[in-house]
């Protein structure tokens, strides 16, 4: 191609073609870059246009629907009325009135003018009069003139008044017609008002400009160099429909944001979007805004349930968040699994060890049980929280030897003599076990109702299916009578068992044996080398993080701190021998048919694989100490969610949630109730009540809502109740156990309940609550007429009534309940305790059921009944005022 060109002398060669071609390319390139800049890189313009179109279409269809619903007979009527009103405006009467008014108005103008002139003339005359008086001349003619003018003023004034009166009379007539006409017009318009409104909105939508929308949060966070930085969110530019109800079903990016109650508290207009959803706020294209195409963006958008992780950035240490249930569930798993035993985690620092102390094991069990347990806990109890350390036989033996040697040095002895347990009946024991509430925490065999209600793969109390092969009966008797004797930090409460009951239970539990056959292991437990090896292993694997062991009280946490784990780069993570899943794969983790595992090389993939099997990434040379947990898929995802929230990159304190004293009290109370696992039986703040399906005798109803206790019960009573629970509802077999709480702990619980009820902790003398004398007798009458005693027995008067009917003994009310609560309760029981069997007797706006007492006034009758209940059962006279 270039041979012909090579023949031309070099200085004569023509470069025109090259110039034109390259100029053309440059031109095209320039045009492309301008187009790219203005349109291609600004997809938000298209999204907004689409949104406006969708929205206006919807509004149009609503307008049409509204028009459809218009009652055309009504429209015809109103139109007829309007026509008549219009016609009336042409009627004789109206026209005459208008004409008359015109004429009279003109006359009035004239009269007013004349009146004013007369006044001026009078002033002038008066001046002359005064002047003459001053000058000593004769005032009579001037006075006469003044008087004449005054008369003239009066005359014109009267005329003016008269005209005004007539005009106002005419006005009445005129306005009658006009008002009728206006009213008819307005009524006709109102019929179409809604449609017109929709139409106007639709038109607005069509004319909206396409513009960037942003929210600026000044002084939001710190850069890595500790400089204050603002945050700018432009998400609304594409997601224009986030606040539009009509867009609830629209496709993304126009969909309305779900959970409007949550948005009301975190208004995106002042809060932005990225503090919760992450992503790159200032970017205006999808890939960059979501932080996905921008590979170096460290906080890409959080999808699905992961969005709840960011709640922790501002709501640090809040255990219950109404709108973030997945995160709350994740926190609960961390709390109950005891991850903080090995890992330092912010917000989980002052928590008790989740495992029992290991200093006196020989009183409880024997080495033949300890050894297989240490080797694999899940073998004995598949739902235990203790994970599997995968010790070899030798290692397990060493640990057992150490524990046995520690136990031998203890001086623990039982409270009662050996053999006290004997004489119980296993069948009766089973009956007691199943009725007083043990199943609320302990599962046995197939009785897994409570575990299913909880929904976790682990139990918080040991499963007792094989307990007969684990413990000694002496220990068991000692334990069920008083758990704190063996372990003074245990969370197992005392069920206040009598000796007989305890013996029955021991007989029952000891009958639950492990029926599998094991080859007995020969253990060399007194070998000092083994004991030393056991000591070393226990320290190395950090057992002291979960168990108290003598001599190891000062051991530190054996693994890494997780408070910033969410920001760890996956490039720093070790994937061991697992295969790699490509970035485009839909899952993060896959178990292959040949037994190997493929993990996506990302933070999410690594974490998922880690919790599926914590020893996943172990290789021949790199050993891992983390023991193996058996969480299910949902739990793994929740734990991952929790770890996403572990980041030090949080907004500045001005944006964080501040906790007043009340919230702090509530949070302290929550932690305490989580420690003692109150939610297993009671429902607290929408969680818990797992025991309900078990004891759901249809009419029994749920255990009382502790949240209401702050407003409901007297503080001294609650204190003594929590110290020593008494029976309030004697017909129910399930017992509230005795938790052996300290005074400080009871105080925390009190303040928790009071905080929830928004009341302050004040010392009151309830006995001195004054009661009005005039209510006593009517109250007694009402008590009889309304037959309260039909359900509320006093004393032991329960003949003929079965459990479904019964209600608490009201004779005890004055010691237990707050007087103002009694009144609230009587007004509307189902508001204070939804689902209660107590009926509502008084409905607002309606007369009381018996109108003869106290004039049938609801409030008065309520006061009367409350007064009567308050003095019921008292032995000493209450304080009664006139």
């Amino acid at each position: 191609m270039f041979e012909r060109r090579a023949k031309i002398p070099v200085e004569n060669r023509d470069y025109a073609v090259f110039y034109i071609v390259f100029s053309g390319i440059l031109f095209v390139g320039t045009v492309w870059s301008v187009w790219d800049e203005v349109r291609t890189r600004r997809p938000w313009k298209d999204y907004q246009a689409e949104f406006y179109q969708l929205s206006s279409e919807k509004l149009d269809s609503l307008r049409l629907a509204s028009l459809q619903e218009v009652d055309s007979t009504q429209v015809l009527e109103l139109q007829a009325i309007l026509k008549k009103a219009e016609e009336s405006l042409t009627s004789e009467e109206y026209r005459k009135a208008v004409a008359d008014k015109d004429q009279l108005s003109r006359d009035l103008d004239i009269a007013t003018r004349e009146w004013r002139f007369a006044r001026s003339r009078s002033d002038a005359a008066y001046y002359q009069f005064q002047k003459a008086k001053l000058e000593g001349r004769d005032v009579a003619p001037y006075r006469k003139e003044v008087d004449e003018h005054e008369a003239s003023i009066a005359k014109h004034f009267a005329e003016k008044n008269h005209l005004e009166m007539k005009i106002s009379g005419l006005d009445e007539v005129i306005n009658k017609y006009k008002d009728a006409h206006a009213k008819a017009q307005v009524e006709l318009q109102n019929v179409f008002a809604q449609a017109v409104a929709f139409g106007a909105k639709a038109e607005n939508m069509r004319n909206n400009p396409v513009t960037v929308r942003q929210v600026m949060l000044n002084d939001f966070e710190l850069t890595p160099f500790q400089e204050i930085k603002a945050r700018i969110d432009r998400c609304q530019t594409c997601h224009s429909g986030w606040n539009d109800e009509l867009m609830a079903e629209a496709p993304q990016p126009h969909t309305q944001h779900p959970v409007p109650e949550l948005l009301a508290k975190h208004n995106p207009e002042s809060f932005g979007c990225t503090p919760c959803h992450r992503g790159q706020g200032p970017a205006l294209t999808e890939g960059f805004a979501h932080g996905v195409d921008d590979h170096y963006w460290e906080t890409p958008i959080l999808r699905g349930n992961d969005v709840y992780a960011t709640c922790n950035s501002c709501h640090t240490n809040e255990s219950t968040l109404k709108h973030a249930k997945p995160f709350v569930a994740a926190k609960q798993i961390i709390f109950e699994s005891g991850c903080y035993g090995c890992h330092e985690i912010k917000g989980f620092t002052d928590l008790p060890k989740i495992g029992p102390p290991l200093n006196t094991l020989m009183a409880k069990t024997q080495p033949e049980w300890i050894f297989p347990w240490v080797r694999n806990p899940k073998d004995y109890n598949p739902h235990t929280r203790m994970p599997n350390f995968k010790f070899s036989d030798g290692e397990a033996e060493a640990i057992t030897a150490y524990l046995v040697s520690v136990a031998k040095q203890s001086s623990f002895s039982f409270e009662r003599p050996r053999g006290s347990f004997a004489g119980g009946n296993a069948a009766q024991g089973r009956q007691i076990f199943e009725t007083i509430g043990c199943q609320g925490c302990h599962a046995v065999g197939n009785a897994t109702t409570v575990r299913d209600a909880r929904g976790t793969t682990f139990d918080i109390a040991p499963e007792l299916t094989r307990v007969g092969s684990k413990v000694s009966p002496d220990w068991l008797f000692d334990w069920v009578k008083n758990p704190r004797h063996y372990n003074n930090e245990t969370r197992m409460p005392s069920l206040r068992l009598t000796d007989t009951e305890a013996r029955h239970i021991v007989a029952y539990l000891m009958s639950l044996k492990d029926n599998r056959r094991f080859a007995p292991a020969s253990l060399d437990l007194s070998n000092p080398e083994k004991i030393t090896a056991g000591d070393r292993l226990i320290r190395e694997f950090g057992c002291a993080g979960c168990h108290s062991i003598k001599g190891m009280e000062n051991e530190g946490k054996v693994s890494v701190e997780l408070s910033d784990f969410g920001r760890k780069k996956y490039e720093q993570m070790d994937f061991g021998d697992t295969h790699e899943l490509s970035e485009d794969d839909t899952v993060d983790y896959r178990e292959n048919a040949d037994g190997t595992v493929s993990v996506k090389h990302s933070w999410r993939g690594w974490v998922y694989g880690k919790f599926k099997n914590p020893r996943q990434y172990q290789t021949e040379r790199i050993v891992q100490k983390m023991p193996v947990y058996t969480f299910n898929d949902d739990e793994v995802k929740l734990i991952r969610l929790f770890l996403i929230s572990m980041t030090k990159d949080v907004p500045l304190p001005t944006y964080q949630r501040t906790y007043d004293k009340r919230m702090q009290d509530i949070e302290a109370g929550r932690r305490l109730t989580m420690t003692y696992n109150c939610i297993q039986c009671h429902q607290l703040e929408d969680r818990g009540g797992y025991i309900l399906p078990l004891y759901q005798e249809a009419a029994l109803g749920p255990p009382p809502l502790p949240e209401s206790q702050g407003a409901k019960v007297q503080e001294p009573w609650l204190h003594s109740f929590l110290k020593n629970p008494t029976t309030i509802r004697s017909w129910i077999n399930v017992r509230m156990p005795t938790f052996n709480l300290t005074d400080a702990e009871i105080g925390k619980i009190q303040r928790y309940f009071l905080g929830l009820s928004r009341q302050d902790f004040v010392i009151r003398d309830y006995a001195a609550t004054p009661m009005d004398q005039k209510y006593v007798e009517p109250g007694r009458k009402l008590y009889e007429i309304y037959q309260c005693a039909k359900c509320h027995p006093t004393g032991s008067n329960t003949e003929g009534l079965t459990a479904e009917f019964l209600a608490p003994d009201l004779a005890k009310a004055y010691t237990r309940l707050k007087p103002e609560w009694i009144i609230d309760w009587m007004r509307d029981p189902s508001r204070l305790q939804p689902g209660t069997r107590m009926p509502t007797f008084f409905t607002e706006g309606q007369e009381a059921p018996d109108p003869s007492i106290l004039g049938g006034n609801n409030e008065e009758q309520i006061k009367a009944l409350s007064t009567y209940v308050w003095i019921l059962g008292r032995r000493s006279a209450p304080v009664v005022t006139k």
């Binding site: 028009l67 459809q68 055309s72 007979t73 007429i785 309304y786 037959q787 079965t802 009917f805 009926p839």
Partner: protein
């Protein structure tokens, strides 16, 4: 615009001019079990109110082999039509510690008069899922007015003082429902011509559906049959 709607209204109205009925019977096959006697010992008043034994109304088979207390209603075919709410209230009474009637239907927004004709404490605890429930005590003879705003499938009403008392209420957005009586038959009047799905509901044996067509003559039949066991 106005003409179109005038037209539409005329068309709608004309459709209502032709009205038909659906009649039928609910039969019961097989032997019902022995009737359960209600024990009213817990309340003297209730025990004394009845000379003979009171039987449970859970399953009442009439002498002619039909089933009583079956609620029949139109499930589909009515469309989104709006109906006037009848001014007459439906009466729901507690007499002799028994609810009367045992099964009833009411229109959404229609007034329900809840009466206590006994001189003892009753309470009416309604347990709907869609509507707002209530638990109202009636310690003395009297009457209270209630109404349900939304249509709902039949739900239970019980008394906390007397556990044997129970009744069922169904709420509908249209007036096309009926309850079978002592002869096991029912009639639903006033249906415009068209195809409908009729559903029968019984508290123990559940629901059954049938399709019927109300034609120009205005009559249609729907017979249901429940089996024991």
């Amino acid at each position: 615009m106005k003409t179109i709607f005038f037209f539409a209204i005329t068309v709608f109205c004309s459709a209502a001019l032709v009205a038909g009925d659906v009649t039928g019977k609910v039969s019961f096959e097989g032997k019902p079990g022995a009737p359960v006697r209600l024990r009213m010992d817990a309340d003297k008043f209730c025990a004394m109110a009845h000379k003979e034994a009171v039987l449970s109304e859970e399953l009442v088979v009439n002498k002619n082999g039909t089933l009583k207390n079956v609620l029949i209603y139109i499930k589909e075919g009515v469309g989104g039509k709006k109906f006037d709410i009848p001014k007459t209230p439906v009466v729901f009474d507690q007499k002799g510690c028994i609810y009367m009637p045992h099964v009833l239907g009411v229109m959404a927004g229609q007034e329900l008069q809840v009466k206590n004709s006994d001189r003892t404490l009753h309470n009416v605890h309604a347990l709907p899922k869609v509507n707002q429930g209530f638990n109202q005590g009636q310690p003395v003879p009297g009457m209270m007015k209630k109404n349900f705003q939304k249509p709902e499938a039949p739900f239970k009403v019980k008394c906390e003082v007397h556990s044997w008392m129970g009744a069922y209420i169904g709420v509908f957005s249209h007036p096309y429902f009926a309850v079978t009586g002592d002869d096991g038959s029912f009639t639903i009047k006033g249906l415009p011509a068209g195809e409908y799905t009729v559903e029968a509901w019984h508290e123990k044996y559940g629901t059954q559906t049938l399709k019927v067509k109300v034609d120009a003559t205005g009559k249609a039949t729907a017979n249901f049959s429940y089996k024991a066991g």
